[in-house]
Amino acid sequence: MMADTLVLTPQQIIRKKAAGEPIQPDDSEMTRKHTIVVLVENSIGAFIRVINMFSARGFNIDSVTVGPTEDSSVSRMNIATVGNSRIIAQVLRQLSRLVDTIEVTDLTTTDYVERELCLLKVCYTKDSRSEILDVSDIFRGKVVDITKKTMTFELRGPSQKIDAFIDMMLPHNIVEVARSGRVAMQRDI
C-alpha cells in the first residue's frame, strides 16, 4: 500500500475545498487506534531507538510490548498508537527508516487477531464474593490466587474485553491491575 495516495495535508485539504472537490470523511482528520508490529534486531539499542523516535517526533504510544520471536536474533514489538492517517503514515515511514527495523506492518488495515493479558487483584467480602466470581465467569477469567481478603484473576482477550472487565470490577475494591499491552498478529487469508 502506498501511503501517499491516502494522505492529505492541511494544505491539500484547503486546496481541495477551494477547488470545490469532495473530501472523503476518512481523509486525514479522523483519529484512529492503530496496532503496529515492528520486527527489530534483538538488542536493547534497537528497542530504545524505536521508542525514542516516538518521543523525539512527538508521536503517541498507548502501549508497547516487546518479546522474542521464532528467530533469536529478532524481537517483535507491538506498538499501540493513535493518530490520523497522515500521522500514521509518517510513523510508519520513520520506523522503516531506522537501521535496526527489519519489518514494519500496520495491522489496522488488515485482518488480525489481538490479545492482551491482565492480572487483577480485588478485595472481597462475604457479600461481594459471589458477585465478583460471577463477573469473572462471564468474562472467562481464572482465579490464580486467593487469600482471606483478596482474589487475583487472570484474564485474556482483546483489549476492549479487558477494559470492560476492569469496568465491571470497579465498584469492588480493586487493589492492583497489571496489563501486558496488546500483542497482535495478522490472520492468514
Binding site: 492541511p10 491539500q12 522503516s96 537501521v99 527495523t101 527489519i102
Partner: protein
C-alpha cells in the same frame, strides 16, 4: 519487506567511489589491539584524514597512531566542535565521509552540536568517541557520559562496541550507513577495554544489514506519471535541494532543465546544483529568496521537487504556499515525502538514478510565456542595496565573487552575511557552497572552511576556499585558525564586521520596535587583525570600498597561511527581500518602506 520500501537493496555510489579493500592491510586474522584494529580499519576504509583530539579514553588509539604511523593524516583540532564542523566541511566539499575521533565525556559532548548539524543537513560523518571501560559504564565513572543516549535523536545510527571482535565490522557498517541513502552522522562509542583487548583483524568486504535498504531507481509507473504531469503542465518549476548536490546530479539536472526549458529555483543547500548565471536560474527561494523565485512558486502549476524537504524557511505559511501547484517529489528519504506538502506523485529513489530514468521520458516544452512572466517579476523587484559610497556587506561579497569569477568553495557562518552570500555570490558549481542550513549553527564557518581546504588539498583542486562569517559567529570557533595556519592552508577568511548580531538586530528592528536587547557587540568584539596575527595568520582590515578591493588583492597573494580580512561595514544594513517567519510567501517585505504588519 519494509513498509513502502520497494526499491532494490543496493549501495549507491555517491561522490565517494566505494572504497577498495587494500589486500596488504587485511592480513587475515592477524592479532592486534582494538586500538590498532580501529586504525587499520580506517586505512582499509580509505580514510585520508581524521580530525581529532586525544584524552584518557582514547589514549591507546593515539599511542598506536604514534607507533604504526597509519596511512592517513590526523589533524589535532583545538576544540571537538571545531573537529566535527571540519569533518562536515571536508565531507561537503569532497563528497567523502568525514571522520572525527574524540575522548569520552566532555570530548563526546563537545561533538554534539556538530553531530546535530550534520544530521539536519544530511552530511556524512563518522564520530568515534572514547568511553570508560565496559565494567564501569553506568557507574558515573570519571569522564563518563552516555554518548549513545545523548546522540540518539541526532544520529542516523550509533554503535556501542562491546567486543573487540565486532570492531572492524562496526567501522565498515558505520561508513556504509553514513555514506549511502540520505547521508548522515554515525557515532561509534569505543570503551577503553575494547580498545585494549586483542583480537584478529579482518576487515569485511561487504556489509550485511537486513534492516537497511538504500533506494536507488524509482518505480517506472511513477516516472511515467511524472513525465505526463510535466507534459501537461503550463507553468512548471524545478525546486532543487541539497539532495541534488549529495547525489552529484548537477550536470544531469542542468541538462534536463535546458532540454525541457523548465526554470529552476534552489534552496540554500541546492545553491550550485544549477548554474546561477543561466537564464533559467531563478536563484534561491524562501524567506530570503528572490522576489521572482517566490512569485514563480506562488503562480506555478507544477513543482518538481528534487532532493528537497519543504522546510519551513522555504514554504513559510504552508496553507497558502504554491496554491496552484501539483507536486512531483523525487526523494531518497521516505519520511520526507508528504511530510509538509502533499506529493501528487512521489518518486522514492536516489535523485541521480531517478533523473537518469526521467531524462529520456521528457520532451522540450514551450515555456516562453511563463519565462516572460518570470522576467517581469525579475524586473519588478531586483536584488539591490544602497550605493552611497559606504562599505556594505553585499558589496564585499560581490567583490569576492569578482575576484574568483565565482569559482571558489564558499563556506559561510550563520546570519545576515549567510543570506547575502546566497543572494549575491552567484554559485556556478556543485559543492562550492557550504553552509549550516538546518541547524543554523553559528561558529560553523571557520572550522568547516578548514575542513573543506584540507579536502581541496587532498583532491588536488586549486579552487580557493573562502569563508564568509559575521563578527558574532566567527569568534565562536576562531580557535581553529591556528590549526589552519599550522597546516599552511591558504584560507581566505572574510569577517563581515557590523559590530552587531546582525540577523537578530534585523528581527529586533522589524518585529520588536527597535529594542536592541543584547545584540551590540562593539564592546566585546576582539581586534580581528590582532586575533589573526596571534593565531599565526595574516590580518587585514578595510573600512571603505576602495580598501575592500585592496585587501582582497593582498589576501590572495598570501599562499602559505590563512589571511583574515575584516570588513567594517554599516551596522544597520538589512537582508531583503524577506518573508517574515510564519507569513505567507506572497507577503514579502522588499525594503524598509514596505508597510510591515508584523511589528
Amino acid at each position: 519487506m519494509k513498509y513502502d520500501v520497494h526499491t532494490k537493496v543496493q549501495p549507491v555510489v555517491t561522490g565517494d567511489a566505494l572504497p577498495k579493500v587494500r589486500p596488504e592491510l587485511t592480513t587475515k586474522g592477524q592479532h592486534m589491539s582494538g586500538a590498532e584494529i580501529l586504525l587499520r580499519s580506517l586505512e582499509a576504509e580509505g580514510v585520508k584524514i581524521v580530525f581529532g583530539h586525544p584524552g584518557g579514553a582514547v589514549i591507546h588509539v593515539y599511542d598506536e597512531m604514534h607507533r604504526i604511523k597509519p596511512q592517513f593524516e590526523h589533524i589535532l583540532v583545538r576544540h571537538e566542535q571545531g573537529g566535527t564542523h571540519a569533518a562536515e566541511g571536508y565531507a561537503k566539499a569532497t563528497g567523502k565521509v568525514g571522520t572525527v575521533l574524540v575522548t569520552s565525556g566532555p570530548g563526546a559532548t563537545n561533538t554534539v552540536t556538530g553531530i546535530a548539524d550534520a544530521y539536519m543537513d544530511s552530511v556524512p560523518i563518522v564520530v568515534f568517541t572514547g568511553q570508560v571501560p565496559t565494567g564501569l559504564i553506568g557507574n558515573d565513572a570519571f569522564q563518563e557520559c552516555d554518548a549513545i543516549g545523548i546522540s540518539r535523536s541526532i544520529t542516523k545510527h550509533s554503535y556501542l562496541v562491546r567486543d573487540v571482535s565486532d570492531l572492524a565490522r562496526t567501522v565498515k557498517e558505520a561508513y556504509h550507513i553514513a555514506r549511502t541513502g540520505r547521508p548522515g552522522p554515525v557515532l561509534v562509542d569505543l570503551p577503553k577495554d575494547v580498545l585494549l583487548a586483542k583480537g584478529p583483524f579482518v576487515y569485511p568486504e561487504t556489509v550485511n544489514m537486513r534492516g537497511y535498504a538504500v533506494p536507488a531507481e524509482g518505480r517506472v509507473e511513477k516516472l511515467e506519471r511524472a513525465a505526463q504531469m510535466i507534459e501537461e503542465s503550463e507553468r512548471p518549476l524545478f525546486y532543487v535541494g541539497g539532495g541534488a548536490v549529495n547525489s552529484d546530479s548537477s550536470e544531469l539536472l542542468t541538462d534536463i532543465a535546458r532540454h525541457t526549458g523548465i526554470p529552476v529555483t534552489t534552496t540554500l543547500h541546492g545553491l550550485g546544483a544549477f548554474p546561477e548565471d543561466d537564464t533559467l536560474a531563478l536563484r534561491m527561494l524562501g524567506m530570503h529568496g528572490t522576489w521572482w523565485a517566490n512569485q514563480a512558486i506562488q503562480h506555478c502549476d507544477l513543482i518538481i521537487a528534487v532532493g528537497a524537504r519543504f522546510d519551513d524557511r522555504v514554504t513559510g505559511k504552508l496553507d497558502s504556499w504554491a496554491p496552484h501547484a501539483k507536486v512531483i517529489h523525487i526523494e531518497i528519504d521516505q519520511s520526507c515525502i508528504s511530510k509538509n506538502v502533499f506529493a501528487d506523485c512521489a518518486i522514492l529513489g536516489n535523485v541521480r538514478n531517478v533523473l537518469e530514468q526521467l531524462r529520456p521520458m521528457v520532451k522540450p516544452k514551450d515555456t516562453t510565456e511563463w519565462l516572460k512572466q518570470i522576467d517581469v517579476w525579475r524586473q519588478e523587484c531586483p536584488l539591490k542595496y544602497e550605493q552611497d559610497g559606504k562599505l556594505r556587506a553585499q558589496g564585499v561579497i560581490e567583490n569576492l565573487r569578482d575576484k574568483t569569477n565565482g569559482d571558489a568553495v564558499v563556506i559561510t557562518d550563520v546570519g545576515q552575511h549567510q543570506m547575502w552570500t546566497a543572494q549575491y555570490f552567484r554559485f556556478l558549481h556543485s559543492r562550492t557552497h557550504i553552509t549550516s542550513g538546518g541547524l543554523g549553527t553559528m561558529g560553523f564557518g571557520m572550522p568547516a572552511a578548514m575542513g573543506a581546504a584540507f579536502g581541496m588539498r587532498e583532491i588536488g583542486s586549486s579552487r580557493p576556499v573562502v569563508c564568509i562569517s559575521g563578527d558574532g559567529g566567527f569568534v565562536m570557533n576562531a580557535q581553529e585558525m591556528s590549526v589552519a595556519a599550522a597546516h599552511k592552508l591558504p584560507l581566505k577568511l572574510a569577517v563581515i564586521n557590523n559590530r552587531f548580531l546582525g540577523m537578530v538586530r534585523q528581527w529586533q528592528e522589524l518585529f520588536h520596535k527597535e529594542r536592541y536587547s543584547h545584540t551590540d557587540l562593539s564592546d566585546t568584539n576582539p581586534d580581528f587583525v590582532k586575533l589573526a596575527e596571534a593565531n599565526h595568520c595574516v590580518g587585514l582590515r578595510a573600512t571603505t570600498p576602495e580598501e575592500c578591493r585592496q585587501i582582497i588583492d593582498e589576501a590572495w597573494k598570501v599562499t602559505d597561511r590563512p589571511a583574515l580580512m575584516e570588513f567594517q561595514v554599516a551596522k544597520e544594513e538589512m537582508v531583503f527581500p524577506m518573508v517574515p517567519a510564519g507569513a505567507a510567501t506572497g507577503e514579502m517585505i522588499t525594503d524598509r518602506m514596505t508597510p510591515n504588519s508584523f511589528v
